[in-house]
Symmetry: C2
Subunit: 250 residues, 2 copies
């Protein structure tokens, strides 16, 4: 019952500047960082938190991020490793709609899409400084197919909680999975990128509201500490190497 197996799906790697990871600090040093999504087996369906990037789209629109993604690292390749096909995914849960978090959605036309209303609004009508982040418009569907993430906490199924952690983007959400017998699994998405930035309370160079972002980071840290959660960082190569990768699972 509830959350059963949880897989991390490798989506390959991208390159950005160190100062994009640790705002204003480390300018001029390129860093290759991992991108992944989270597949959740639940008795109410198969849930996918984010969906990685689409290599073709990044090569076309952001080639300077030097995408590396093998066939095995595509969303379809990763689902296959877990014994699933794209038609098996019941619902996609979006932390936010930046291109490296929603790219795989093009393979899931039948999945229900959960997204924050304000996030969708900004993705469709971005501020000038948000345009590149929202470059992949794959998320855009007739609005009857969306399920809205509204309010502070939404629980699409028991034990799958999305909490509002704005700042990186206006409608950014983090994921907490309550799984029987183990500590909660806490995926903070892009509230912060790496262990260093987690420790130092540093936010990414890309953000909509830096103050809200720092507040969300402090909140996430306090919540993780209080619940003794296992925290999963999103774009940290060392941390990523230490996690179990699909088909291995939590």
């Amino acid at each position: 019952m509830g959350v059963e197996r949880v897989w991390l799906l490798d989506s390959g790697t991208l390159v950005i500047d160190q100062s994009h990871i640790t705002w204003n600090v480390g300018c001029g040093t390129p860093v290759r960082f991992p991108v992944y999504s989270v597949l959740i087996e639940h008795d109410e369906g198969l849930f996918l938190f984010d969906s990685g990037f689409d290599k073709g789209t990044v090569e076309e629109l952001l080639p300077f991020e030097l995408p590396e993604q093998t066939e095995e690292q595509t969303l379809l390749g990763q689902l296959d490793k877990c014994g699933y096909g794209p038609g098996d995914v019941t619902a996609v849960l979006n932390s936010h709609l930046h291109f490296d978090h929603c790219g795989g959605q093009r393979h899931l036309p039948d999945a229900v899409t959960w997204v924050d209303k304000e996030e969708l609004r900004h993705a469709l009508v971005p501020e000038s400084f948000e345009r590149l982040g929202y470059a992949d418009k794959v998320f855009h569907r007739p609005d009857s197919e969306y399920r809205w993430l509204e309010g502070d906490v939404v629980e699409p199924a028991p034990g799958i909680k999305l909490i509002h952690t704005p700042g990186h983007t206006v409608g950014h959400r983090s994921l907490i999975l309550d799984k029987e017998g183990v500590a909660p699994l806490f995926f903070c998405a892009d509230v912060t990128y790496t262990q260093e930035s987690w420790d130092k309370e540093m936010i990414a160079g890309f953000h909509n509201d830096p103050t809200a972002n720092v507040e969300s980071l402090r909140r996430v840290k306090a919540l993780a500490a209080r619940t003794r959660a296992d925290v999963f960082l999103t774009h940290d190569m060392d941390a990523w190497s230490s996690y179990k990768h699909a088909p291995d699972h939590y």
Copy 2:
């Protein structure tokens, strides 16, 4: 120089309930009301504030509003009365994106479109109670073609001022035209619909934020009084009958 001739372009009439005009008051009494837009001749171009409704779209999506619009009352018919064709319109200024204010835009693919960012976001991703108001999606263009209405006052050309008057919708704007030798012409769009609601500070039944709407109404009234402006009400049949209609002009 500056604002030259100003025409009111008749767009025909629609029917709504009295309580849609005066929020919660007068339920059960249908009222036929006028819709019009404002054409502004200026030495920097030909500006159109709103563009009326599109009869076909209203018949399809909101037939219960019983649209009446002759050929002469279409945007093209009205422009023709002023000696212009659709290709002559330089820029469209949107008070907001409700269907009865943007319908004529389908005839102006080449005009620059000025719109409030938040307004466009809500028009694309409406709240459930806003869906019908934003039923005509004609405004949706590649974002490079928009000019953004941002901040409290925007002046697309000298003497043409759009002021932020939110509440009816999130990005609602009113228009003030400074014309040499006469009092300012003040078009308050849907801040309030009629003389009665202006006098009694009543807002329309359709709104995004009633408190903001009332505050905008008070602000508009104070500003109109202080500048001794000529106020033009938007959906009042008696007031409309008293105005000059194109080809007559201000």
